[in-house]
Every structure is written in C-alpha cells, then in structure tokens.
Symmetry: C2
Subunit: 361 residues, 2 copies
C-alpha cells in the first residue's frame, strides 16, 4: 500500500492516518469540517490536498449514521481501489449499503477494538491499535485484493486481525461490550438516590463494576442504536437469570427449610456460572487468563513511594504483571497490590520485606 | 481497653487480634478448631490460655450461622464486660439474638468493611482495617460503655467508625456490595457458552465489570442468605430498569421514527442516571471523587520498565494517584495509565517525554 484516503479525521481516522504516515504511506485527509482536517494534517497525519488519482485504500471513519453516504460518494468518485469502514456495528450497515446500491466487492466492513475516553484528532495517536483485535468481516463477494489491502493496513497499525461474520461480530460485541456497558450503568443508576451514608460504604467491588458507567452517553446512544436487536437479546437473557436470582433470594427468606435449600442452590448456580464465565475472559496480551498471585504492600501517600516499590521490585528481577492501588477511606495511606506470576510472589515479597516494606502476602 | 477475647480465629478475628496485640492489649483466643487457635497464637495474635476473669471486650468473629450461639454462650459464662460481632449483616441476626434471650445492653453489632480473597488466620494482618469504614449499629438500649469500648477497638484497628441503624446498614450493603456482586456474576455467566471468537474481543470494560465474578461462591452464599430481602429489593428495582432498557432497544429497531426517538430517549436516561450514580462513588481515601487526568505511557514487557517510569515520575515530584495497566492482545507490550491531579498531568507528561518515554496524553 502506497496511498490512502482517510475520510473522517476524528480519533480513529486520525490515529489510522498517523500510523500509516509513520510507516511511509502517503495519506490524504478528508472531513466535512475543514478545521479538523487542518488539525490532523498539522499533527503529521497526512495532507489535506486531494489525491491526483485513485488511492490504494479509502478508510471511512465517519460517525455510524454517515457511513453509507460517505462510501457511496467515494465509490461514485472512484476514489480508491478498495474501501473499508471502521464502524462499531457491521451487519445492519452492510445491508443498508447493499440497498443503496454500493459496490460490495470493493468494500470490507471492519472494526478496530480500540478507543479512549477523549475524542477528536487531538486525542489521536499512532499506537492506538497496538496489540488490539481488529475485526474484518469479508464475504464471498469481497475482492481478495481488498481483503489483502485491509490486512496490510491492520499490520501497519500493529493490530491483530480477527476474521468474523458480520452478524456474529454484532452478537459478540453485544455480549462483551454493549451489555457490560448497560449493566454497569444500571448498577450505578441505583446510587443516584442512595443515602450519603450508604455511598460511604462503597468498596473496590462496586468501584470496578461501575467504572465504565462514567462513559459518554452520546457516543453510546449511537453505538446501541446501530445494534439494538443483539443487545436486547443478551439483556433479555440476563433479565431471565435476574428473575431467577430474585426468586432464589425470596426463597431464602422462607420459613420452610426445603425452600431455603432451593434458594441457596439457585444462588450458588449463578455464582458458579459467573466463576466459569469470568475464567474465560482473556488476560494480559490476550493469552489464556493466568491466575496471578498478589503481593500487597502498605504505602503512605507521599510522592516517590510507588517509585521506590517498583525500583525495589525491579532489582529483585520480578516482572509486575498488573497493579492495583487499594483505596482507603479517610486517611492518607493505602495498599498497592502487585500482581505477579505465582512462582515470583514469594521472591518479590521477601525482596520487598528485606528492603523494609510492610507486606501483606 | 486492656484485655480482649477473640472468638473465631479466621481472617477477620485474627486480624483484629493482631492489631490489638500490637497496641498492647492482652488478647485471649478461642476457636472450635484448636489448630486455628495455635496458628493465630503463633502469629503473635494473642494467647490460647483462657482469661482469669471477665475481659473488657469480647469479639465474636465466627461464621454468620454461629454468631448467636457463640454470643449466648459467652454471655452465660460472663466472659466480658461488652460484646461485639463482626458479621456482614446486622438486622436479622439482632432480632435472632433478641428471640434467644441474649442480653442486648452489653452487645453491639458491627461490620468492618474489609476483607481479602484468602481466608483463615494465615491470611490475617494487623493492617487489614486501616482507613476502612467500620459500621457500628448501637440502639437506645446499648450500654454507652460498650459503645465506647467498640470505638476504642475501631481506633486501635485504625479503621473509620460509621454509626448506622442495623436495617439501614443491611439495605446499604445490599446496594453497594451484594447487588454489584450478583450483577457481575450475571454478566460473566453470559460468557459461559459464548463462542471463542467472541471471548477474544473482551476489552477492559468487561474485564472490570466481571472482576469480582471470580469470588468464592461459598462465602457469598452465606452473606446473601443472611440478607436476602434487601438484596432482592434492589435487584427487583434493577430488573425494572432492565425491562425498560430492553423495551427501549426494541423501539430502536422500529421502522417508525417517533418510536426510535422514544427508544433513544430511554437509553439516554439509563446512561445519564448511570453517570450521576457513578459520580457519587467515593474516590481514594473516601474523599469526594476527583477527576484525575490520565497520562498513558507505552511500555515493553521487560522487568524494570514500571520501576523506571515510577522513578522518573518521582523525580518530577508528581504523586501518582492511581495506576492501570492496559492490556494488549497478542503481543508483549502495553500502556500504563498513570492517574494524577489535573494540574500535574502536563508536568508529568513533559518529564517522562524528556526521559525518552512514548506518551499518549
């Protein structure tokens, strides 16, 4: 790939353009907002000059509602040899393109699984896609040359290509992304009217469960509006389990011991299925989830405490796989949880203890 | 307080005993399992010798099902001037004590909001309660001397006392602890039968939402069995919101534009209420949640990388408030997100850039 056209210079479009430009591809930028194009060009994402002839690959990175119109226009202009979009939903939009009479042999629907809280070209970065899955949804009518151009783009962005059927993709993101978002919001919504004293009792569990409830509603309305059916299907299944769970809890209130036994069995079933499902979530680097061991270290809130811990861990030759700062209430101290491979836990704990740290192992 | 009796030398009982012993209180240990008592005593938690006369305060730290029997027995023996328990549910157990004829003037129901994944005396640590809320549920009949002994114990454990009505406590933990646990399990349970390709698309959102779904089912069955009513009430409210959400998603599938508008409004309502509720979750040290800014640094997976980053941050005089390692799929690199006070973000980013780090700001 020597030339590309990026249509839509928001976070995703500009990040792709930055990655391609950094690897020697000539990138032309286009956006309905000339200011956004100038910003992206100033960041080194490419040029705002139009291409002299058709480019190798056009990337449609506009909001979901504008994808079909942008693709139809670009194809009418003969802007490129191949076209891909990066929308977060794939099945419905593809059917829409078909009904609009777009050429589907030169088009490939894709979805890079990356993003961040901020939007716009200023938030863009060439490494946004590094190591992330990038879903490609070819069909029998997709031109092989277009698929290979897309694979080259994914490689240049240092992402990991994953080939899927478009509708299977939509069901998958309904399950692993859209449903967790809505359930996080639903749990957080219960806190809206809670007593202040109750809110003070929040611990790390609810903090983790509700983290993504802080997401931007406008962005999520667009995403969910493009994938309502598959999300409703998963939520209905959750609602069925939830109803069973409420029934099991009510049985636990019963004076009848047999009923209480049934209730406990129902609750155990939910918790055990949760264990099994959670064990399937990939760990760091997409490998099979590893059960890391945790070494917890007591720290004060002074600058430099974390630096000293990590320096001491580094000197012990131990690789920290994940870190979590445990939040304490009402005082300036806390615990840092260092997650390491099981065989490294004892080494790390001893090394830190030898250097004067208070360890909870 | 000079003398204490800890009945039940598991994680919580032994941790309390360690904290009290460390601050000069003479602690007597008792457990139905003599092995556990010996372990706790060997760790320095106290003595397995019985006390010569009544101690100042007896701490009942046995599993929920045995609290009333343990308290009744200790009171019959005249073991202490005051008694408290540390069970995670308070209203129902209190009514049970009353019906058993226990003396409720010398008893105080309490709940330290602390714990960890492991259990048993070997997991115990004197600093388990540092900075954590410790709920006390006095009633008009509670002896003031007993309340003061409990406050002294909470202070010796360096926890933060929070006074609440017993039933209000149970509703609060149903909301902020028991409900998030079950919903995390319900989301994770959906992954049990998911396609392998779908599971590969899991990102940080679902990883956070389902983290506590890995919890021990046996412990949670005991907790939920003691608080089924309030948990069922909160879950029913969530189920109502969930039903509305499914209805809104189905409306978004409609061909009728007005219906789609209603659907979008319904989804927006859930997401915005989630924003509001999430904003109430206390941040680090129980202060009002601070909107930290994030400085993201690209790292390789070699030992010592984190140490170098934290050392460089420390030299810049910046206090890291929270850390998150962003997981990448399929390769040995990732991002570390450093969360800092907004005014420190630019300083940190510049300092790290000057030392050669690749920053995404």
């Amino acid at each position: 790939m020597r030339t590309a056209l990026v249509i839509g210079t928001g976070l995703i479009g500009t990040s792709i353009a930055l990655a391609l430009s950094a690897r020697g591809v000539t990138v032309h930028l286009r956006d309905h907002d000339p200011e956004q194009v100038r910003t992206a060009a100033a960041l080194g994402a490419g040029t705002d000059e139009p291409a002299a002839g058709p480019v190798d690959l056009a990337v449609i990175a506009v909001p979901p509602a504008h994808i079909s119109a942008s693709l139809a226009e670009a194809q009418r202009q003969g802007a490129a040899r191949g076209y891909l979009d990066v929308g977060s939903v794939k099945g419905g939009p593809r059917r829409e393109l078909s009904s609009l009479g777009c050429d589907l042999t030169s088009y490939l629907g894709t979805h890079p699984m990356a993003g961040r809280e901020q939007s716009g070209p200023l938030a863009a970065t060439a490494d946004l896609f590094e190591g992330r899955p990038w879903v490609l949804t070819p069909t029998p009518e997709t031109d092989t040359e277009v698929l290979n151009l897309a694979l080259e783009l994914v490689a240049l962005c240092r992402a990991v290509p994953v080939v899927m059927d478009a509708d299977a993709h939509d069901r998958a993101v309904a399950l692993v992304s859209h449903t967790p978002q809505l359930l996080s919001s639903l749990v957080a919504a219960r806190l809206e009217t809670a007593d202040e004293t109750a809110v003070r009792l929040c611990g790390q569990g609810i903090r983790d469960v509700t983290r993504i409830a802080a997401s931007d509603p406008r962005m999520w309305i667009d995403i969910l509006a493009a994938n309502p059916g598959p999300v409703a299907d998963v939520l209905s299944a959750v609602a069925g389990d939830l109803e069973e769970t409420v029934r099991a809890l009510r049985a636990l209130e019963s004076a009848d011991e047999a009923k209480r036994g049934d209730g406990a069995a129902g609750i155990e079933d939910v918790l055990r299925r949760g264990n099994t499902g959670r064990a399937r979530v990939p760990g760091k680097h997409g490998q099979a989830p590893t059960a890391y061991e945790t070494v917890a270290v007591l720290i004060s809130d002074r600058p430099g405490e974390l630096a000293r811990i990590f320096a001491d861990a580094g000197q012990a030759g131990v690789n920290i796989e994940d870190v979590r700062i445990e939040h304490a209430t009402g005082q300036q101290a806390g615990h840092v949880q260092l997650m390491v491979e099981p065989k490294a836990a004892v080494v790390l704990a001893e090394a830190l203890r030898a250097r004067g740290w208070a360890i909870r192992q």
